[in-house]
Structures are given as structure tokens and as C-alpha cells.
């Protein structure tokens, strides 16, 4: 066993211990298990909501995107910050409604806000379709990170099984309390590793940040800004806008807001979270450092840029620390996804089939659900084909289709009812499916349009169709039964 693998395994043991210990002194009912009894302080909420964004993507994806695409990678920082600005108003509104109505999941939130169990079922299906591939992505990242940083002494399959079992154990015992306890450690370690790599790699290989950027600019002129076509300014603006709107509609991010004790935490955090987004910048700096040092990585391999350069640069024990941080970026956000997916499995899909199930019974169902989902995710990671990858790429478009439904709930005056919202979501998701499986692009839709139109994120069209269908069906159903409409309108039960 090399020192890197030893560090990774010790970290895993420590995290497992912390995660299991987090249940001490807590009467673990369903609400405690799934949303920490709505009692988390501002700091824990911060770590869960901001830190949850630091998944394997921060370490592998952001650096790989910077390595492969250059300037366009910065869109990640911009949309995250804009989502944080929105969070100032959005999260307190979500939190307040959820607390008043004892809501534990995102589908339940929409079902209660619109007084429609059918809508709850649709949102539950959407949430699972988006969440499971995202969980698979974490496991995939885990396998790659552990295999590379242990110098191949642990195979990806073994790493995925060990990580999956450890996650299932502490999620089962401690639920959200386990995720919160481990999230604090994860954030501290990832922060330190990212900042270190983002400064050390450019200095070590290029003599400094300025020298590194000057060398990249002379080798690849324009690489550090947005190109004229492809990932152009039109792409940047449309993708930033869409992603900022969609970020909090990820089911696990949505239900993480329920853990807060008071709504003021969200407003206070909104000023600090943009600074936190800068951590991703350091990961990108490490990716830029790899551009001239490990050239030639193509396609999916660009995600390996940071690890490849690190292994070439550092002693095994440093690589071990990087690997440990990488493992935590997979396990901790993965555990939150697992909790919210299994909670919604129990409350939104199982309960309608078995009405009258008590909370104790549902809590047991959701714990069995964590095991089931973990096994499904591990199996999909190991045996899954490329169709999962295409689902992953559109995970954001899938959850963004829930945005109009949320706007109507938090707006001062609701502008849609359950019928309209259901129609909007179905139309939006059908459009997303047409782009993923049918290969629909804006160039095919509008062949004559100028090239900046072709660069726009196609999700904008999906969202536009969604809103149009929502308003149209809302208007039609109100016109047909004006009396019934008021009972269906949002906040009817608030």
C-alpha cells in the first residue's frame, strides 16, 4: 500500500466515524433524518447550500473545462454568483412555505403550493430523472479520483463500492446530521487543496500567474476570452441566465434549504457566498496551468488535467491529500442527493400507493430506499452506457423546467394554476427530450438565423415554450371553470 492510498483510506475512516457520530443525542424521527429537524444554524446552512455546489465538478470539471475551453469556463462562477443573489429572496420564500406546511421534499412543496397531488407525482418523476444521473456522476468521479491518486492500487469498481457502502451506512444512521458534520470537514479540505493547487501549480511550472497567462496567450491567442462562435458571448449570456435560474431547482439543493432554523440565515449568507464561488477560480487556475504542461487531452479526458499534472508534480502523500479531498467532493454531496432522493421516494412515490402509512413506516421505507438507490447508482456507474452521460448533460435543463412553477408560487400574485404548471413542465421536458434523444438544435430549428442565435443555449426555447404553455392552459382552465380555478390557485391553502 502506498502513502497516498493510506491517506485516502484514513480520511474515509474519519468521515465515516464523523458521519455516524453525528446522530448522538438526537431523537431520529423522519424530519430529523431528512432535514435535520429544521434546526441548523447559519454556518451549517451555508456549508450545506454553498458547499453542496462543490462536488466532484469543482475539482475535476471546472479545472477540466478551463483546460479544454479556456475563457468560457468562467460561466460557472458567474451563474453561481447570480444564483446566490436570487437566493436572497428565493430561499426565505421556499423555507417559509415548507416550514408552515411541514414539507420535506421538493415534489411535496409543489403539490401543496398548487393543491395538486398529480403535480407532486410529475415533479417527483422529474426530480428522480435528474438526481439519479447526478449521483452516478459523483460515483464516476469518485472512481476516477481514487484510481488515479492511489496510483492504480485501488480499482475504480472497488473504490465505487467502498465509497457507496460508506455513504449508505452514515446516511442510514445519521441522515442530514451526518451530511452536515462531514460537509464541514469536506469544505475545509477542498478549500485548502483548491487554493494550494491554484497558486502552487502556476508558480511551480510557469514562475507565476502573470507568466502563465502570458505564455498561454502567446501559444493560443484568444483562448482566455470567449471565442467568436461556439461558446461565444451569446452562449455565455444565455447559459449563465438559464443555469442561475435552475440552480436551486436541483431537488437536493431545494430541500437543503429546509434544514435552516431561521430564514435570516439565507439573507446573511447571500453576501458571503459569492466570495465562496471564487474557490472554483483556483481550481480553474490549476486547469490553466495544465494547458501547456500536459497538452493533448481530448474529449472526456480533459477532466483528468488537474490530477495528471498533480501526479507529475507532487510526492505521493500530497497526491493522497488531493485524492482524499476529491473523494469527499463525491461522498458528501452524494449523501445529500441520496437523502433527498430517498425521502421523495418514500413520501411522494410510495405514500400515494399506500395511503395511511405513518411517519415511522415512511422513515423505514426511505432508509431502505437509500440502500436501493445506492445500489442502482453503483450499478449504473459500473455498467451504465453512454445514455446516462447524455442525461447528465441535460440534468440542468431538466430541473430548470421547474423554474416557472416556482416563480408563480413566490410571486406576490400567482400567475399560474396546477393545470397550467403541469402543462408547462410536460411541454418543457418534452422539448428537452427532443434535444437529447432527437438531436434537435437551434441550427436545425432556425437554419437561416445569424450565428449568434445558433450559439444560444437551446434551453431558452424550452423554457419559453414551458411558460407559454403554462400561461395558456392557466387562462383556458380559469375561463372554463372560474369557480374551480380559485381552489387550484397557489397558496389556496396558505
Amino acid at each position: 500500500m502506498n502513502s497516498a492510498l493510506l491517506i485516502i483510506l484514513l480520511t474515509l475512516g474519519f468521515i465515516l466515524y464523523l458521519g455516524v457520530r453525528a446522530r448522538r443525542g438526537i431523537q431520529m424521527d423522519f424530519e430529523q433524518w431528512s432535514v435535520g429537524g429544521r434546526g441548523f444554524s447559519g454556518l451549517l446552512v451555508f456549508v450545506l447550500i454553498a458547499g453542496e455546489l462543490y462536488t466532484t465538478f469543482t475539482l475535476l470539471g471546472a479545472s477540466g473545462f478551463a483546460y479544454g475551453n479556456g475563457g468560457p469556463a468562467l460561466y460557472v462562477i458567474v451563474y453561481t454568483c447570480l444564483a446566490f443573489v436570487l437566493s436572497y429572496w428565493l430561499l426565505p420564500a421556499i423555507w417559509r412555505f415548507a416550514k408552515q406546511h411541514g414539507v420535506l421534499t421538493q415534489p411535496e412543496f409543489f403539490a401543496k403550493a398548487y393543491g395538486s397531488p398529480a403535480l407532486g407525482l410529475i415533479v417527483a418523476a422529474v426530480a428522480l430523472v435528474a438526481l439519479v444521473p447526478y449521483l452516478v456522476l459523483q460515483f464516476k468521479g469518485l472512481g476516477i479520483i481514487v484510481e488515479l491518486t492511489s496510483y492504480g492500487s485501488l480499482s475504480p469498481v472497488a473504490a465505487i463500492w467502498i465509497g457507496g457502502i460508506a455513504m449508505a451506512v452514515y446516511v442510514n444512521l445519521s441522515g442530514m446530521h451526518g451530511s452536515a458534520a462531514t460537509a464541514v470537514v469536506k469544505d475545509a479540505l477542498v478549500l485548502a487543496v483548491c487554493v494550494f493547487l491554484g497558486l502552487y501549480l502556476p508558480i511551480h511550472h510557469h514562475g507565476g500567474l502573470g507568466d502563465m497567462f502570458a505564455r498561454i496567450e502567446s501559444a493560443h491567442p484568444g483562448f482566455l476570452a470567449l471565442p467568436a462562435t461556439g461558446k461565444s458571448e451569446a452562449w455565455f449570456i444565455s447559459t449563465v441566465a438559464l443555469s442561475a435560474l435552475g440552480m436551486y431547482l436541483w431537488p437536493h439543493a431545494f430541500s437543503a434549504t429546509f434544514t435552516a432554523k431561521e430564514e435570516r440565515s439565507f439573507r446573511r449568507n447571500a453576501a458571503v457566498m459569492p466570495l465562496y464561488a471564487l474557490v472554483m477560480l483556483f481550481s480553474m487556475l490549476a486547469g490553466f496551468a495544465a494547458v501547456l504542461e500536459v497538452p493533448g487531452l481530448k474529449g472526456g479526458q480533459i477532466d483528468l488535467a488537474l490530477l495528471t499534472l498533480s501526479i507529475r508534480t507532487f510526492d505521493p502523500w500530497v497526491v493522497g491529500v488531493i485524492g482524499a479531498a476529491g473523494m469527499l467532493t463525491a461522498l458528501v454531496p452524494g449523501s445529500i442527493m441520496l437523502i433527498s432522493a430517498s425521502t421523495l421516494l418514500a413520501r411522494d412515490l410510495y405514500r400515494p400507493l399506500r395511503p395511511g402509512s405513518g411517519d415511522m413506516h415512511l422513515a423505514r421505507v426511505s432508509r431502505v430506499g437509500t440502500l436501493l438507490l445506492m445500489l442502482v447508482a453503483v450499478a449504473l456507474t459500473i455498467f451504465g452506457g453512454s445514455s446516462i452521460v447524455s442525461l447528465l448533460l441535460t440534468g440542468f435543463s431538466i430541473v430548470t423546467q421547474l423554474a416557472p412553477a416556482l416563480w408563480s408560487v413566490v410571486a406576490r400574485r400567482p400567475f399560474a394554476n396546477a393545470h397550467g404548471v403541469m402543462a408547462g413542465i410536460l411541454v418543457g421536458e418534452a422539448f428537452v427530450a427532443a434535444t437529447v434523444f432527437g438531436g434537435l438544435t437551434l441550427a436545425k430549428l432556425l437554419p437561416g438565423a445569424p450565428s449568434w442565435v445558433h450559439d444560444l443555449n437551446i434551453g431558452i426555447v424550452g423554457l419559453g415554450l414551458n411558460v407559454a404553455a403554462m400561461l395558456l392552459v392557466t387562462a383556458l382552465s380559469r375561463w372554463r371553470s372560474p369557480a374551480g380555478a380559485s381552489a387550484l390557485s397557489p397558496r389556496a391553502d396558505a
Binding site: 436572497y88 482566455l224 458571448e233 447571500a270 453576501a271 466570495l275
Partner: protein
């Protein structure tokens, strides 16, 4: 809309419309490409704006 609402629109305007002016590598600012330097400045400004919003919003008075 109150003052703090208007303030919060600033990050959106600067991010979405600002790209059209800031999308360039030259001139380097403190060794960073202009686009990158502009985005770092924008993040710091966004943080400041949200701090001001927090102070101005009557909802946060004890």
C-alpha cells in the same frame, strides 16, 4: 421597487451585458487576462452589493 431591490439588479446587468465589453484578453490586469480580472472584480462587487442589500432591507432589522 425599493433602493435595495434596484441595487440587486446591478450584478445581473454587469454580468449579462458587461460580457459584451469585457470579453477580451488584453490588456492584462495584474497579470490576469482582462476577462478573468473583470469577473473577479464583478464577484467582489456582487458580494459588496449583497452586503448593502442586507443592511438596507428592513426585514433584517432586529
Amino acid at each position: 421597487m425599493k433602493l435595495h431591490h434596484w441595487l440587486a439588479t446591478l450584478p445581473f446587468l454587469l454580468a449579462l451585458a458587461g460580457v459584451l465589453f469585457a470579453n477580451r484578453v488584453q490588456p492584462f490586469v495584474l497579470g490576469l487576462p482582462f476577462f478573468l480580472a473583470w469577473i473577479i472584480g464583478w464577484v467582489l462587487l456582487t458580494s459588496l452589493v449583497m452586503w448593502l442589500v442586507y443592511r438596507l432591507d428592513p426585514a433584517n432589522r432586529p
